[in-house]
Amino acid sequence: MVDMSQTVALLAPEIVLFVASMLVAVLGLSRSTGIRSLVPWVCVAALVGSILALDAVWTPERIQGARLLFPMLGKYGKALIALIGIGLVAVSAGSIDRRYEEAVARGRASFDALRVVRGEYYAFLLLSLTGAMLVMSAPDLIWLFLGLELVSLPTYIMVAVARTGRRSMEAAMKYFFLGALATAVTLYGFAMLYGATGTMQLIAMRDVLAEQAAGPGLSTTALLGTILTVLGLCFKLAAVPMHFYAPDVYEGAPLPVTAFLSFTPKIAGFSALITVLGAVGWSGHAMVDHDGVRIAYEGLPQPVTAVLWMVAALTMVLGNIGGILQTSLKRTLAYSSIANSGYMLVGVIVGPKGGIGAMYLFMLGYGVMTIATFGVLAALERKGEEVDSFESLAGLRAAHPGLAFLLTVSALSLLGVPPLFGALAKIVLVFVAFEGGQASLAAVLLLNTAIGAVYYLRFVGAAVVNPQNAKSQEVVAIPHWWPKTAAIVAGLGLIVLPAFLSRLVDASATTVDGYVDLGEAVASETER
């Protein structure tokens, strides 16, 4: 009998965030400027609180009771979400509602609770992060689906809410309809998986599928369901073939939302992906019966591997080539985000033997780089608008040497120059790809790193090398310290984190602790 209260206790981090999101929704409507400016602080406090809560409630007994497929995934994963979440809040603070707040402060506009969006924005931000955390502790497909929806629904609104412009609306509509389509595909996949196994519980599903695999082989319905799920989740990852929306939506959305979109749905999507794949394949298909151990296959079913391989390779190649062709900063970063999803998919294909750990390590690096890059861009503006062209960044070093340095560091880290953290995380990925027998994907990854160099160098060139022009002289720093601080912390993190690489590799490897291990299964069987 599963003790309900224990399961609920395990959700303490999510509960903290949920309560905080209700709180900021109210605080943001306050007539007092002081209280309204407290909102980002409340968000940061809630995220810190959720990390503390995570540490407190995550005990072995509770995890046992929760019957999770990847019982330890949440510990590292939720902490990562909260940590990067703090950075994403900082990138947003200062941009959201700034014009309106300034107008109110100068007395040009009176405060109108209907026009202020700050509260809603942060409430949705926290709700989406809550969803991403929920995905990581999903014991069944329904929970998984609801978690994924909780990630996405707030982001549809965030794209539209934070800026009143045509492009923002267009982006929101596009994002919403394509997102709904992708959700339908995922749901169809889930339904087929249910049809093939007769259960929603992931652990039970794994056992049924293992029996099928050891006997007559996986049913076509199960395979088709898995592939549809993968394709539907590609939308969250911004991976081929569901990547088309990314450049348009990233460009149309306000800058802090773009930063949010390039991280939160991605980590939720990857977590959902490995949760489903963990039930369908990898070591899940070790059957222990009276003859001893029988393995239908190692890793994933062949068709699923083939699909993932194609998705990963195409995502890397199309992402990087697309990146070369862009002139807009945000579109370039959108393609960069696509390409990075491709790199991380390599880790997913390799699986629990190092691959998933390497993927989450890379995710950490990617999150930090996202904060550093978007933090710098969010700290700048030109004529009251976001900076969105390489031209406007030209000669940034002359006016803002610190920001130019941080942008250079994060671009070089994305590019893959050692000893910056991004490069080392990528090397770990290449390494596990070799180890997992995916040498060809490792080669594709390395070649793509070289292609990506072309557009990452543009950031460096614009910020440090090129002289100022008429356009870039109008670029000024915004009068808020939040984004700048986020960029400084993240940028220095990219330089300092390599010193702790060993510990971070170990920490990210804990994500698969407790997942069925073939060796352990055999050992426990022989003991019996």
């Binding site: 090397i427 070799f434 390395l446 690489l501």
Partner: protein, 550 residues
């Protein structure tokens, strides 16, 4: 160990200090930092115990940095890498002090990047852990990118871009290869190690011949870009020509040597079967580079471009010596690496000094400068002689040994080191030397001697106010001879060149044991390759006979 890290970290600290210090103090700080780094390395070299044994000192440490795969911060030198590191540490103060008047804009950044470049090159030469080597090797690109792109000539951005993308792509081949070898080592022994010695022993002994073939091909592809070898050399003349003087000096002096060093240190010892199988192909590319680049030099009118292409030609000879696969050639090759760094570096320095005065490099517009600058002309002739290999100067010894090594690299096993090249390669590459003498003398004849041609003042003024590039230093208007500072930079270089030329024995003795260790697996590997070739030839003959019968 501590002295090695001191020599690497002093420049890093200097760079950090420069970043926050007063802009005017930057150049002095850089000079002090680079001299201190040289001092630390010289102190290490002074007490270095392994000059004559070929061993690595100090022993690889157990200081794991990434414990799960046992990647370490192991540094250490054998005599070859120590010589190259000393060359680097010796050239850097010259570059820094040589830039004092040439660089007037953004001085803090310039000297800061230069210090970081220095640190990463030293790290690459000092590293005993292949991943650490990769870090140093790859990071050199970043400072170099900035040095060329910000302070270079009119096409600097294109040059920097090309340099970065070419070498970055190349080094990914190299990264892929070493990760592969490390993984293979773990798969067959169950242990992780990234120590160069361990991996080389493992790979050469345990990997099958076919794997070694592809491993060598990948490593060669990676390092060939940096060397650069014939088809992938196109980035170098552009980068050299557009780089500021000090950038060209360090590029020719030690950065290209990272490529040759990589082949010597990693590719050859790791994959002897591959090395033996691909030696002929690589040597053909080298020989083509020697002759082809020499012919290009011949038609150059731009002095700096001429020297840039001569680098391609010279490094072809250097690599040919390496692929002779016998100790004579390899010794010559290592010596050539150092000599080329000295003499070509000095030539770039001299051309830079003339450019600072006239802002013109085109020999159609400028020439006969001996009449204006006799001291400059003396050094120019001296280093030209060193570069074309006049006996008695440094260039001769290395060049001769490289060619001789290739000459004797025949299938004859009586020397103990059968080879795959033979007199043909030596003779063709030898024509490169003759061409080399011709184009270098052409340079001297037009640029240094001959009728005096100076750019007209208006042209000079126009170039002077071109503004975009940072070469327009403080020397405007002064067409005088070299200053004391400049002479002070050239004299140490000239003395070292003279010393190596007259008395190369101690260096050759120091290089010898290392070379023998590196080439130890080669006689057997070459024998196997030689055996397989005639068989193939016989098989073809047999086939054709059968065809005839049919």
């Amino acid at each position: 160990m501590n002295l090695i890290w001191a020599s690497i970290l002093i420049p890093v600290v200097t760079a950090a200090v420069i970043a926050v210090a007063n802009a005017r103090a930057a150049r002095s700080l850089a000079a002090v930092g680079s001299l201190a780094s040289l001092g630390a390395l010289a102190a290490f070299a002074w007490q270095f115990p392994a000059w004559s044994t070929g061993a690595v000192h100090p022993e690889p440490c157990g200081c794991a940095w990434l414990s799960s795969i046992n990647a370490t911060l192991g540094v250490g030198f054998d005599s070859v890498s120590l010589m190259l590191a000393l060359l680097e540490a010796f050239l850097i103060p010259i570059c820094v002090i040589g830039s004092w008047t040439a660089i007037s804009e953004r001085q803090r950044e310039y000297y800061g990047w230069f210090m970081l470049l220095h640190a990463s090159i030293l790290l690459a030469f000092a590293a005993r852990d292949v991943l650490l080597f990769y870090v140093g090797y790859e990071f050199t690109l970043v400072p170099l990118l900035f040095i060329i792109a910000i302070w270079g000539g009119p096409e600097r951005r294109q040059a920097a871009h090309k340099l970065f993308l070419y070498t970055f792509l190349g080094s990914l081949f190299f990264l892929g290869s070493i990760l592969f070898v490390g993984w293979q080592h773990h798969a067959s022994t169950g242990l992780w190690s990234w120590d160069m010695g361990t991996l080389s022993t493992f790979a050469s002994a345990r990997l099958p011949a076919n794997t070694q073939y592809w491993l060598f091909a990948a490593l060669l592809a990676g390092f060939a870009v940096k060397v650069p070898l014939f088809p992938v050399h196109t980035w170098l003349p552009l980068a050299h020509n557009q780089a500021p003087t000090a950038g060209s000096v360090i590029l020719a002096g030690t950065l290209l040597k990272l490529g040759t060093y990589g082949i010597f240190r990693l590719a050859l010892p790791m994959a002897p079967e591959g090395g033996a199988a691909l030696a002929v192909l690589a040597s053909v590319l080298c020989t083509v580079a020697v002759v082809y680049a020499a012919l290009i030099c011949w038609v150059q009118t731009d002095a700096k471009k001429l020297v840039a292409y001569s680098s391609v030609s010279h490094l072809g000879i250097c690599m040919l010596g390496l692929f002779a696969l016998n100790p004579v050639g390899a010794q010559g090759s290592v010596l050539y690496m150092i000599n080329h760094g000295l003499s070509t570096g000095a030539l770039f320095l001299l051309i830079g000094m003339a450019y600072e005065r006239y802002h013109v490099k085109d020999m159609d517009q400028i020439g006969g400068l001996a009449k204006r600058m006799p001291v400059w002309a003396f050094f120019m002739v001296f280093f030209t002689m060193s570069s074309i290999g006049l006996p008695g100067l440094n260039g001769f010894v290395g060049e001769y040994l490289c060619l001789f090594g290739a000459y004797i690299a025949t299938g004859d096993a009586s020397t103990g080191y059968p080879g795959l090249l033979g007199p043909g390669f030596a003779l063709v590459a030898g024509t490169g030397l003759i061409l080399g003498a011709m184009y270098m003398l052409l340079l001297v004849g037009r640029y240094v001697f001959g009728p005096l041609r100076e750019p007209r003042d208006d042209a000079h003024a126009k170039h002077g106010h071109d503004g975009a590039h940072a070469h327009d230093g403080g020397h405007d208007g002064g067409h005088g001879d070299l200053t004391g500072r400049e002479v002070g930079l050239l004299v140490p270089l000239a003395l070292v060149c003279l010393f190596i030329g007259v008395y190369p024995k101690p260096m050759l003795q120091a290089i010898g044991p290392v070379v023998e260790r590196t080439l130890a697996p080669y006689p057997a590997a070459v024998e196997r390759t030689l055996k397989s070739q005639p068989q193939a030839a016989e098989a073809v003959q047999a086939d054709s006979k059968e065809d005839d019968r049919g």
